[in-house]
Symmetry: C2
Subunit: 467 residues, 2 copies
């Protein structure tokens, strides 16, 4: 097994496995099925298995694993819930998958400061369950019930980033084990700081290639007094996008503003037995005071009307909110039912909002031209959208066309001064696009940092940076 | 001249000055007064002059200067407006002060995307003047009319960070010249991205030690439909702080929430002929819709009353807003008049808000104990406050006591899991505290990054990292 110019260090891996077996006993697993589960990519990227999986229970144990692997130059791939989408957990050179799911304690909640300290294996749903009776929540919602360590590592976001930001904005401080086994803490618990290089933000989004996150201090939000949901149909993607732009320019503090294209609305109609007009749809959520959310919903309604929005509905009742948002909640399953048994290949481009309409429209046209189905949902307030290509894995010609589509779409976003990845990360799949997006000098700078912090390239090798 | 173990490279400087003179003519200045101005620290840190000042007009010129300096191992200190507070622009090893104030063009405003692209020498006031007729503004307001490049380099913030964040949150992308003269661009113009290491955030707050910022893409805000200002007195710092905590927990989206301690209120009363009760004062600003700001101000009034707030006033009229906020606008000048001719030594600690009351109270008590006057203003919503020591420079004993106070206060904040610097940066003055705050392993990580990106240590040497 090899990855570009790199080669597998079979002897080192063998030695490290022996030492780790001594130290971790049954918490080192080498069975085929558990290794397959930990090298599973949930995408069309081929699975590449680690040689063993260690279940760590403390920062000290993580440091121990890293030191053993460092001594024998063995790759370590941090693993949370395995819900990443670009081959992040693959082990192209083998090595140790370091499973952090047992580090799942909420260590402290400081309600007065709206922050908390958690271990990396805590999932976002577990955290929100823990917080609920204190009237607090952690807003970042990438869809999957991912681990918070993994969400930080991929700089995840999701539907409410338009209001609450991404993991970049909501991690206050990180404890991490570096490639030499030393433990660092990146920042104090202060809400803001000018104390040296922003190592917090350097680790957020580093995909396990610079250090292993062993603890996070996160910003929390108070559960809003009131929530309102709304839904509105539009004659075209461009009418919907112009409405989104108007919302952002107006400064309306929408908590969520999601776009479904006509194809996706059609799929949801059939799957969920709805009767929405099969035209582009915006779904919204407003957070604030009772009076505030009503005012926001009214303001939105007026803006939407200007751009030809129809069928506008808004509500603050929980049951009705769920009804209005059903189209979004069911979108993924509805989409798979367009072609049962297909593989869904996610894309993740993000463009300046002024280019959103053009980008979504061009993607629809290009998919049709290539004979592909690629229904789309978008976090429209951020300019981030997922055209998901439905592919028959057993049809090589279709796979080739799908690859062409993905490549074309990434290049389109880059040409619009956008990015190939708004929230999924680079992993293995997007490495060629990173260079096209940011240029050789920028990638060389990233590579210099990687070499400085992980000179033996043991932390998640073969990810982010091109060979 | 030397800085720790580093020594001045007199021969290299001489050579570089000769080459730069050829290239830049009159735009290389070596006169005493201009060098003094560029090595002026505005604090009690001794001035250390550069050998020459180059006025650059383009990214290419910056790259040219860096290449010459790299070839001859000559320090380069980026210079914006010189309003930093921790000796950032000092030249402990001599070298070239690279003045970017002539790179002062607003290159693009994308109203539809709420972003703009500027050269680093544009000041925040110049940008806001440029934006005004488009209904947009750039919110970060550190007090001084600093350059945006300098604000990014020190991770500046100010009074409205509680709502709009700091420079960390408002820089989308950076173009920078690295130590080898190569030009990088850190990110696309997308509102969010998971594309590789967050070099944007690494450069924000790096104080010119990792690269020279030559262009910034910034996030903008729409000018709010309505602004309301409010003022409320409190019986104690702890009552005011508890109110602030309640505001944050409630999720009230205050745009500004500033604390003046009793001593500062007294100073303002005398300077501005006001008759405020000489007890702690909170000043607030709310941004939103007409109805929204009234609702916010009412909610705040009710919260403040619960904690013993008195004399509460709120208004949306511009004239009245200025009247209410006069105490804050005049605070700096009023403070200097407590002791005319004194030097004002700023501190900048930032603690978790739950510790704010204790920290401000302890600082007041410690100043009194040391026979010092240290009136305080705070960005209370962030837990960041400036107790400013008024020092007679010619009194060595008082200087010693002031130094003791500053050191004690930084350590106090660190002991509370806060930081020695919320917004001013480390520069020269706070280097010892950075190590105490984050520990040796973290500082070693920062130093490894510095060595990787600037192996010859030519970019603003002697700042941030300890020798």
């Amino acid at each position: 097994m090899a990855d570009g110019g790199l080669t597998r260090n079979a002897a080192g891996i063998e030695t490290a496995l022996g030492i780790l077996k001594q130290k971790f006993g049954e918490r080192l697993q080498t069975g085929q099925s558990i290794r397959e589960q930990h090298g599973h990519t949930t995408t069309w990227i081929a699975n590449e298995l680690p040689d063993g999986v260690v279940f760590a229970r403390s920062t000290e144990e993580v440091a121990e694993v890293v030191k053993v692997c460092a001594a024998h130059r063995v790759p370590i791939i941090a693993y949370g819930t395995g819900t990443s989408l670009e081959g992040h957990v693959n082990a192209p050179l083998g090595g140790i998958s370091l499973d952090l799911s047992q580090m799942d304690r909420v260590l402290a909640v400081n309600a007065g400061d709206l922050d908390c300290r958690v271990q990396p294996g805590v999932t976002r749903e577990a955290l929100n369950t823990h917080l609920r009776d204190q009237g607090l929540f952690f807003p970042i919602d990438p869809g999957a019930n991912a681990s918070l360590g993994g969400m930080a590592a991929t700089r995840a976001s999701g539907t409410n980033a338009v209001r609450y930001g991404t993991m970049r904005d909501n991690v206050i401080s990180i404890e991490a084990v570096m490639a030499d086994g030393r433990i660092i803490r990146t920042a104090s618990r202060a809400r803001k700081s000018s104390a040296g290089y922003d190592l917090t933000r350097l680790l957020v989004g580093s995909e396990g290639t610079l250090g292993i996150i062993t603890e996070l201090t996160l910003r929390l939000q108070g559960i809003p007094e009131a929530i309102s949901a709304a839904r509105c149909s539009f004659p075209s993607v461009s009418a919907a996008s112009e409405t989104v732009m108007a919302v952002i320019q107006y400064g309306l503090p929408v908590a969520r503003i999601e776009l479904l294209d006509a194809q996706m609305v059609g799929a949801v109609n059939r799957y969920s037995k709805l009767s929405l007009p099969e035209t582009p749809l915006l779904l919204l959520e407003f957070h604030g005071s009772e009076a505030g959310v009503v005012e926001q919903a009214e303001t939105f309604g007026a803006l939407a009307e200007e751009f030809g929005g129809t069928g506008y509905e808004a509500t603050t009742s929980l049951e009705e909110r769920n009804r209005l948002w059903q189209a979004r909640h069911d979108a993924y399953w509805a989409m798979l039912q367009i072609r049962p048994g297909c593989t869904a290949v996610a894309t993740d481009v993000c463009v300046p909002i002024s280019r959103l309409s053009e980008a979504v429209g061009a993607a629809e046209a290009r998919a049709t031209e290539l004979g592909l189905q690629a229904p789309t949902v978008g976090h429209a307030g951020d300019g981030n959208f997922h055209a998901t290509v439905l592919v028959d894995r057993d049809n090589p010609d279709e796979r080739a066309r799908a690859k062409e589509f993905v490549s074309w779409l990434n290049d389109l976003a880059i040409s619009m001064d956008g990015t190939c990845t708004g929230e999924h990360g680079i992993g293995q799949g997007k490495r060629p696009y990173l260079v096209r997006e940011l240029g050789a000098a920028t990638i060389d700078t990233m590579a210099a940092i990687k070499r400085a912090l992980d000179p033996e390239n043991i932390l998640n090798p073969g990810k982010i940076l091109p060979e």
